[in-house]
Amino acid sequence: MTKRSTSFETSVRSIKDGDTIIVGGFGLCGIPEKAITALAEHGAKDLTVVSNNCGVDDWGLGLLLANKQIKKMVASYVGENKIFEEQYLNGELEVELVPQGTLAERIRAGGAGIRGFYTPTGVGTPIAEGKEHKEFDGRTCILEEAITGDAALVKAWKGDPYGNLIYRKTARNFNPLAAAAGKKTIAEVEELVEVGQLDPDFIHTPGLYVQDILEGGAYEKRIEKRTVAQA
């Protein structure tokens, strides 16, 4: 029952024009850099991409933007990218801005089979327009709906052939949520270990959420804001 895929090219081939894909990462931290690069080469178009951010001009999801593969972006913050601004102002790119916690919860709901949930986040703001409102103990909430993806691209630190994954530090971020919400989840790892080497008490993503797993080799792991202590 191994889920090892032979190549990133093979794994992303099933992604079709018009698909919705959920992509892990926060800024450039913990992004599935190999699968994104393979998807840029694959060239599937009119994608709806769900991810907290949209990369930078020449890295991460920015590569898909540069290729004009993205029709719609669902994100909480997209401020790091000139191509994004250009395509948005041109009307080439549709954008749905979602509060970060609501975005995380909508993806989590998608993976968990929860169809919708009530949250106070966004009440009284443009985000609440057109959404159902309901009071709970005097607190007004809005109804937000689940997000699922035709595919999910995630990056973990270690994984095993059954698809069990562990993440490292803040590179975890949206990755476990995306993993559970994709119909086909492609997981890339820095190190693919033997079955039994991950402690069953400390697996972040149990293998049943993962359809393809690949070892990504050397990772670039770009840093967006390199801040060091003044000596």
């Binding site: 509060p99 609501t102 106070p120 971020n173 967006e224």
Partner: protein, 220 residues
């Protein structure tokens, strides 16, 4: 650091008490971390999935997998923990963060906050701000009292699209400290260089003055 920024940060850091879980917004609020007195045992929460932000790393500690919500490289404090974004906002929305200190563009007299978009400009997104203002037990906003044209940012009602309605607990500007209560907006303190009259002059919002502050100024 500019004089007004220094005033704001020095005042804002006094909000942080021993034992608190604190979320600091991106920009000026993040700078507060460096001013927390050494003996204060607080956990700083970063919404990208970290409880217990430590100081910036030295060169040897630099780790691309360890950043804060502003995407800066950081370290983790002893006793800290990592988690995913859904858990991180469960902490926020669930009321487990004692205090959030965020920047503001406009605050209204009923405690509305606008801090995420200016309609004519390219909208970058709200990030986690809308969740944080609804979820943190206490929301403190820090901002300059007036904009660069001298107009008051402390408004009767916000012109800019809101981040949240009636979510601000306390506002700290370079002139004053206000609280938002069931009895409306109350001027609690004036900062060095300002007095009640100058605050009134620079504030569009209606507010009452705290009695203790009134007496203090009267006795000058």
């Amino acid at each position: 650091m500019s004089n007004s920024r220094e005033k704001i940060i020095n005042r804002a850091v006094q909000e942080i008490e021993d034992g608190m879980i604190v979320n600091l917004g991106i920009g000026m609020p993040t700078m507060i971390a460096n001013h927390i007195p050494a003996g204060t045992d607080v956990f700083l929460h970063s919404e990208n999935g970290l409880l217990g932000i430590g100081p910036y790393p030295d060169e040897s500690e630099l780790d691309p997998d360890l950043i804060n919500a502003g995407k800066e490289t950081v370290t983790v404090k002893n006793g800290g923990s990592f988690f995913d974004n859904a858990e991180s906002f469960a902490m926020i929305r669930g009321g487990h963060i004692d205090l959030a200190i965020l920047g503001g563009m406009e605050v209204s007299e009923n405690g509305d906050l606008a801090n995420w978009m200016i309609p004519e400009k390219m909208v970058k997104g709200m990030g986690g701000a809308m969740d944080i203002v609804q979820g943190a037990r206490k929301v403190v906003i820090i901002m300059n009292h007036v904009n660069k044209h001298g107009a008051s940012k402390v408004r009767k009602s916000c012109d800019l699209p809101l981040t949240g309605e009636q979510v601000v607990s306390r506002l700290i500007t370079d002139m004053a400290v206000f609280d938002f209560t069931e009895n409306g907006m109350i001027l609690k303190e004036v900062l060095n260089g300002a007095d009640i009259a100058s605050v009134r002059e620079n504030t569009e919002a209606s507010f009452t003055v705290d009695e203790a502050l009134m007496q203090k100024e009267d006795s000058k």
